[in-house]
């Protein structure tokens, strides 16, 4: 009995400290983020003015779009790029073994014809076989490449990267819509500071918003609580998480749905890792690693203003698969680069960010579940006062609600993208409900991913069925 009691006391104490440290770190990240966004935001007017001062010499951008069965969204996505306010944009769409009408839709919209697309970057490999390449009569910068799929997004991007010709490379998903000035804004850090090697912008769910001809004309909060909770998650991850990490140059993830890299840097690390499930994070870590090794000055930045709207899963089944994959990928990536964790040589990324992700993102749900079940056990046996337990649960729920609300506040104060007061209220309510239903399910999905990564399962891509952007919906 005594041994059990000791184990129990140790586990609960560890869990309490774990919570405390987690909230402490996240709290400091929030403060950093608030300052960072605040500082950027005050310059917003000047920034907007600078953008209209057009620069014909701005570095060209190659936008790489992997598309696997994206007939629903691909035309809107490409239109948003063709219409983007940027002097030189090259768009390379990779039709990665689509079984639907992805290429046909592009044919109809952009008048494609078969054209040669020479390889410019032999340093990056490609597995799938190229079937056909096209250029467009209607949109001069658009190129389309059809290839056989090997079931991986990374291979599609690498295939496009091998044929890109511009000094900056941007990756977005086949269902994403960029704001018209998003490329200008996300390219600005590269223009201002030669040591910037990678930059990421904000990704927000497009579900529920009104999309017309490749532009989000009315940003609205989606209808279901599952999707609303995801909006909140994205706000938390981007506005708070990433701007906080970026302020200390410890940014580890640049979303695959909207990231931009110097071409040289990406070629040097060999493009995306074909084996990885978290290929975006893997790429950023590889870039960090390469520069730290050479002790070169470099910066990976996050820009909070430009938005890429992307469709997120609307059913629990698809979401479960996505989250399991994310967790799996994170585990895979961290174990691949485990030699960097805790090493001062790799700067804040090695000492703070990676350990944080390992302890709190990857293993978080396990510790949470373990702590919770031990406490429940303690209450059942009578070692813990039920009131104490309830108090602890209440406070931890309230704190996590407060974190979500902090992210919402940053969005409301600095940007106000969702203009309706009712939408703000809906997001606030989603924040209040989240710990009661979404958090436990999410924890289970993540644990499944963690298990998969520990067992070293080979990664497979999940299919996602998309609704696409219904015009005027």
């Amino acid at each position: 009995m005594n041994v059990l009691h000791t184990i129990f006391t140790v586990v609960t104490t560890v869990a309490i400290f774990y919570y405390l440290i987690h909230h402490l770190i996240f709290g400091s990240v929030i403060v950093r983020a608030a300052f960072h966004v605040g500082r950027q935001q005050r310059w917003e007017d000047e920034q907007a003015h600078a953008l209209t001062f057009s620069n014909p010499l701005a570095p060209g951008i190659s936008v790489l779009i992997p598309a696997h069965n994206e007939e629903a969204g691909i035309v809107a996505s490409v239109t948003s790029l063709v219409e983007a306010h940027y002097p030189h944009v090259e768009i390379i769409v990779v039709d990665d073994g689509s079984k639907d009408a992805t290429v046909e839709r592009l044919h109809e919209a952009f008048d494609l014809y078969e054209a040669e697309l020479p390889v410019t970057e032999p340093r990056v490999g490609q597995v799938g076989r190229v079937l056909k390449t096209y250029a467009s009569r209607k949109a001069p910068g658009l190129k389309v490449l059809s290839k056989t799929s090997v079931g991986r997004r990374s291979d599609a991007i690498n295939a496009a990267f091998r044929r890109s010709t511009q000094p900056l490379v941007c990756m977005i998903d086949g269902d994403s819509i960029l704001e018209p000035d998003a490329l200008l804004r996300v390219a600005q850090p590269f223009v201002d500071d030669p040591s910037v090697v990678a930059a990421g912008g904000v990704v927000l769910p497009s579900n529920g918003s009104k999309v017309e001809r490749g532009r989000v004309t009315d940003a609205r909060v989606p209808r279901t609580w599952l999707e609303r909770t995801q909006v909140l998650e994205y706000l938390r991850a981007f506005l708070v998480g990433r701007s906080g990490w970026s302020a200390s140059n410890g940014l580890m993830i640049i979303s695959g749905a909207f990231g931009i890299f110097r071409r040289e840097v990406m070629a040097e690390v060999g493009g995306l890792d074909e084996e990885s499930l978290a290929e975006d994070a893997e790429l950023v870590v590889a870039v960090h690693r390469a520069h730290r090794r050479r002790r070169e000055d470099y910066r990976v930045v996050f820009v909070a203003e430009p938005v890429c709207w992307s469709e997120t899963p609307s059913t629990a089944k698809v979401l479960a698969r996505q989250r399991r994959r994310w967790s799996h990928g994170l585990g895979q990536m961290l174990s691949q680069h485990r030699d960097m964790i805790g090493r001062p040589r790799y700067g804040r990324l090695g000492v703070v960010t990676m350990p944080y992700f390992l302890l709190f993102e990857l293993w978080g749900p396990v510790v949470e579940l373990l702590g919770l079940s031990t406490a429940v056990l303690g209450v059942a046996v009578g070692w813990v006062d039920p009131w104490l337990f309830l108090l602890f649960v209440a406070v931890s729920f309230l704190l996590s609600i407060a974190v979500s609300l902090a992210a919402l506040l940053v969005e409301v104060i600095a940007f106000g993208r969702y203009q309706r007061v009712s939408d703000t209220l809906r997001l606030a309510l989603a924040a209040v409900f989240e710990p009661f239903w979404f958090r436990p399910i999410h924890a289970i999905w993540r644990i499944r991913g963690l298990v998969a990564s520990i067992r070293g399962e080979r990664a497979v891509w999940g299919e996602m069925t998309r609704k696409g952007f219904a015009d005027g919906q």
Binding site: H49, D192, L409, V412, A431
Partner: protein, 295 residues
């Protein structure tokens, strides 16, 4: 049972719980009310903007309007004038500048440019440009060495917008500065906007230690068709690294002088040029020569 429940525990627990409940409720109220207030503020600003626009259209028509009273309205006029001035040219811009000058906005701009807040200095440069027509640029040149990079960029943009080609050597020098550099691309676009007629002002750039500056000079010269830069650009084809070589070749393509084709052909013989650069060079060579070399 562990001895958590010591004396005073209940009080601490109550405070903790009440505190976090209050925090959450306050944040919800804050988010919703800030959104609502934001909407009101935007509406009133929109109204003032509308008023300032009509006011300045009146100024453009007859130039006779009195300066508005009240700090909010004055500010709205200054903001709108900055925006309008960058969208206008010719007689309209001159009329706007004259009115701003004769109603004290020029002085206001200079004061803003000496402010201790970086953002105010940057905004000052824009108001200064809007009120500028006698081409006195001293205060802008000073701000090229400002301690904040964004202010330096704003000053450079302002010089570009004034179209003063005598500022080109200053812009090149600011880009080369070791301690307080002006971003090269900002220098480039400002130089393009000043539209110099010869490459003389770029003098310092060709022999710069920073390859980005030499590449910038080539791009600018190509874009502006500064034919007197051709020989300097051709030299970059043999000396520079891959990005510089491509910039130089692109510039020569724009200049379109047939004498440059030999220099481009020689750069194709270089072993150290990277494959992507080689493809670009082939394309340019073919374009200038009407010959297709297979890579």
């Amino acid at each position: 049972m562990p001895e958590f429940a010591a004396t005073g525990f209940e009080a601490v627990a109550a405070i903790l719980l009440a505190g976090s409940v209050v925090l959450v409720v306050a944040m919800i109220v804050a988010a919703v009310s800030i959104r609502a207030v934001g909407w009101l503020v935007a509406a009133s600003r929109h109204g003032r903007d509308q008023w300032a626009r009509t006011f300045l259209f009146g100024v453009l028509a007859d130039g006779e309007e009195q300066a508005p009273r009240g700090p909010l309205r004055q500010r709205a006029v200054a903001d709108t004038a900055m925006r309008l001035s960058s969208k206008l040219r010719g007689a309209d811009r001159a009329a706007l500048a004259n009115w701003l000058q004769s109603h004290g906005y020029r002085q206001r701009a200079v004061e803003m440019m000496r402010s201790s807040f970086a953002i105010r200095r940057a905004r000052g440069t824009r108001l200064f440009v809007a009120a500028l027509c006698d081409r006195e640029t001293g205060p802008l040149l000073e701000l090229l060495e400002d301690r904040d990079a964004r202010v330096r960029a704003a000053a450079a943009r302002a010089l570009g917008q004034c179209g003063i080609s005598t500022a080109v050597p200053f812009l090149v020098r600011a880009a080369q500065s070791g301690t307080r550099p002006l971003p090269v691309s900002v220098a480039a676009m400002s130089i393009i906007h000043t539209a110099p007629r010869s490459a003389r002002g770029l003098g310092l750039a060709w022999d710069s230690d920073n390859p980005a500056i030499a590449a910038m000079a080539a791009e600018v010269a190509g874009f502006l068709h500064l034919t007197d830069a051709r020989v300097r650009i051709e030299r970059l084809l043999v000396a520079g690294d891959s990005p510089v070589v491509v910039s130089a070749a692109t510039a020569l393509q724009r200049l379109g002088d047939p004498r440059s084709t030999d220099a481009i052909a020689r750069s194709l013989e270089r072993e150290d040029v990277q494959p992507w650069a080689r493809i670009a060079l082939h394309g340019i060579y073919a374009d200038m020569h009407g010959v297709r070399l297979e890579p």
